[in-house]
């Protein structure tokens, strides 16, 4: 674990040895707008600055070499690259710092390209760049080393917490990628309940066969619940309660693969005639059978809402396309409020319509008459239409298991419906809000739209990729100054990641493996007992002051 400095997070700043500034011409893009020579001459006169170099293209191998040589002179302990966006170049210059033997947390980037040269006329741009680089210089001289700890040995094992199809797919993928896998299954049996795929169960045949294939790499504990999780990504320890007693599972990564349980759709009892659900339809189609006559798919619940699960319109679209390609003359109609076509399903939706499946949009549950007639208020036509049908297909309903306890133990919150909440899927697909813990399974917020099987494989691939890397815990985290802390619980209540807790002395304690460095607690702390190494209040305030050109 990282040790906070004994003086607390408000310790006096360590004075810089010297700062190197690299001004990037960005192959003329920046240099065309800014007067680089003037900037160089002005910056050289600052007392902390040892060198100011104007380089053609800081991202090029040649200029990276020049920068490395310059940084290895021993005169400087930090540097500023004034060029393009922090978003695109931060990793590159962090690595450069490491290569040159400097602390990567002492790198400061100043965006004089997108945020200056590209948006302002020549004179204004040079004036603003001068102010921005001076503000960066002020910030750079105040930067402090962020404590980091390299994990000596990364545990390549993966723990999978799951109960069904997603867990089974994840197990196969993880074994295939060469990981040791421990499955923690809350039920008394791990069953692959997905239709149309090879099932593995703990029944003698399937389980034994799969286990033989996996060798000693697979352990499955059933009727087990996780009671605690500690450690950091690359070296987690999960406390497990099993019918045989308490035990500990060690793993580098954790995959939460909880599936929803199938339940009977309440619509089934209300409808007459030939009623099947989407699962049953898919099973029929896979075995080469097809339903009788005209097929009407009701992708909605009684209130007329289709949004209770976006996957239900996926299934309807998928099955409609399947049916139309098997039997083009069969009439297929999907009745729904709105088709949620996420990801690849967009193509399926288009192809289903091209194949002749008709989507009827409505906002009310239709009137089901006797003898195969159904009356729908068509939103597009603006009036009601009556259709005849032979088979009616309803959604396959599922029930979200109670995840409250598991969620609080792992430290990932649930959404309003009781599924695991995902971080922004576009940025961090398959990740959870806790580093090193990955999400898949149908009991997870629906964002990816690639189907449960692919989601399970994706989460394993992400976990596997993480375990291949060198594990360094070097992010900027919140630090507590215990003498100042009054134990008011503000940070405990505000943290999105459940990182702070109150220790026995009544002081806040940050679990660095959970802290992601957002700083919400740092700003909210009424006693100012929390700080971050790279975004201390004094650093931010000095940067603001310098950005105002030192008017006062």
């Amino acid at each position: 674990m990282r040790q906070p400095s004994p003086d607390g997070p408000h310790a006096p700043l360590i004075a810089p040895n010297g700062v190197a500034i690299f001004l990037c011409r960005c192959r003329g893009v920046v240099a065309g707008k800014l007067d680089m020579e003037v900037l160089r001459d002005e910056l050289s006169s600052s007392p902390e600055v040892r060198t100011v170099d104007v380089l053609e293209d800081c991202c090029s191998a040649e200029d990276m070499d020049r920068m490395r040589l310059s940084l290895m002179s021993g005169e400087v302990d930090r540097f500023i690259v004034a060029g393009c966006s922090f978003k695109t170049s931060h990793d590159r210059f962090m690595h450069l710092a490491k290569d040159a033997g400097l602390d990567p947390s002492m790198v400061e980037l100043c965006n004089i390209k997108e945020q200056c040269a590209l948006v302002h006329p020549k004179k204004e741009a040079t004036d603003k760049a001068r102010i921005m680089i001076r503000a960066s210089l002020r910030r750079s001289t105040m930067l402090q080393p962020v404590p980091s700890r390299r994990l000596e040995e990364v545990d390549k094992g993966i723990a999978i917490i799951g109960n069904g199809h997603s867990a089974v797919v994840a197990v196969r993928e993880a074994i295939g990628l060469g990981h040791h896998v421990t499955v923690i299954c809350p039920c008394d049996e791990l069953v692959d309940d997905a239709h149309g795929e090879e099932t593995i169960t703990l029944e003698e045949t399937g389980f034994e066969r799969f286990r033989k294939q996996a060798g000693g790499a697979l352990t499955i504990t059933t009727s087990s619940v996780v009671t605690g999780i500690s450690g950091v990504p690359g070296s987690f320890a999960l406390a497990i309660s099993t019918p045989l007693g308490e035990t500990t599972v060690n793993a580098g990564a954790v995959i939460v693969a909880m599936d929803e349980a199938p339940v009977e759709n309440p619509l089934r009892k209300m409808l007459m005639g030939d009623v099947i659900d989407q699962h049953q339809l898919e099973t029929m189609l896979r075995s080469g059978m097809r339903p009788e006559g005209t097929v009407v798919m009701l992708a909605m619940d009684l209130s007329g809402e289709s949004a209770f699960d976006p996957m239900s319109t996926h299934e309807a679209v998928h099955n409609a396309l399947y049916l139309k390609s098997m039997s083009p003359r069969t009439q297929v109609m999907i009745i729904t409020r709105e088709v949620f076509a996420l990801g690849q399903c967009e193509h399926g939706y288009r192809r289903a319509q091209e194949a002749g499946a008709v989507v009827i949009r409505t906002d009310k549950f239709p009137d089901i008459g006797k003898e195969g007639a159904i009356t729908i208020k068509d939103l597009n036509l603006g009036h009601s239409i009556t259709l005849r049908y032979d088979t009616i297909v309803i959604d396959s309903s599922t029930e979200i298991p109670d995840l409250q306890e598991l969620a609080s133990i792992i430290g990932i919150p649930l959404d309003a419906r009781g599924r695991f909440r995902r971080p922004i899927a576009k940025l961090k697909p398959s990740s959870s809000l806790r580093e090193g813990v990955f999400l898949c399974g149908t009991a997870t917020e629906r964002n990816l739209g690639i189907g449960p099987g692919l989601e399970a494989r994706s989460s394993v691939v992400m976990a596997s990729a993480m375990l291949q890397e060198e594990m360094v815990d070097d992010g900027d985290k919140a630090e507590v100054w215990p003498e100042k802390c009054s134990g008011c619980l503000t940070c405990v209540r505000l943290c999105p990641y459940s990182a702070p807790s109150i220790d026995q002395e009544g002081r806040a304690l940050i679990d660095v493996s959970r802290c992601q460095g957002c700083g919400i607690c740092v700003s909210a702390c009424p006693s100012k007992a929390l700080q971050m190494s790279s975004f201390r209040d004094d650093q931010i305030e000095e940067q603001i002051k310098a950005s105002l050109g030192g008017l006062r």
Binding site: S85, F86, K87, N111, K113, E114, Q115, C116, A117, L118, V119, H120, P121, E124, A125, D127, K128, I131, M132, A135, P413, P423, I424, L427, L433, D476, L494, P496, Q516, G517, C518, G519, I520, V522, S523, A524, M532, F535, D537, I540, E541, Q543, I544, K545, S547, L548, G549, L551, R552
Partner: protein, 134 residues
């Protein structure tokens, strides 16, 4: 004129990048200061900006519901509301402070927000420090 834009490291910063990449223009008086998340923005930072001569302060975070840290931008908005009240008690017009939620690909909205703040300052006159010193 001096306007400080406190931008989060995700959408706020990227929207400023995108404004540049898409050829938008906005007043050069707007200087971005990056924080990890708008949730890190403290009222004291806003006060520090005004005390050191800012005419206006903008806080730019991700769209609500899209915060990289779940709800840092919601916390920031609460603080901005509090800070506006505090500013008006200090005799500084609350309109000089504004919270914006801009997605990373909405460079044009960053440029518009910057222009909006500039026109507010043009209407309200120089900020408290600048007014007293010039």
């Amino acid at each position: 004129m001096k306007i400080i834009a406190l931008v989060c490291s995700f959408c706020g910063y990227s929207s400023a990048d995108m404004a540049g990449a898409n050829g938008e223009t906005y007043p050069s008086s707007v200087v971005p200061v990056r924080v990890p998340c708008t949730g890190r923005v403290d009222i004291r930072h806003i006060i520090a900006a005004f005390r050191n001569g800012a005419d206006a302060v903008m806080v730019i975070g991700c769209l609500e519901g899209n915060c990289n840290y779940q709800y840092g931008n919601i916390e920031a908005r609460k603080r901005v509301v509090q800070a506006r009240e505090l500013l008006s008690q200090l005799g500084i017009d609350g309109e000089r402070l504004e919270m914006f939620n801009i997605a990373s690909n909405q460079g044009w909205r960053f440029a518009e927000a910057a222009k909006e703040m500039e026109s507010r300052v043009a209407r309200l006159g120089p900020g408290p420090i600048r007014r007293d010193h010039t």
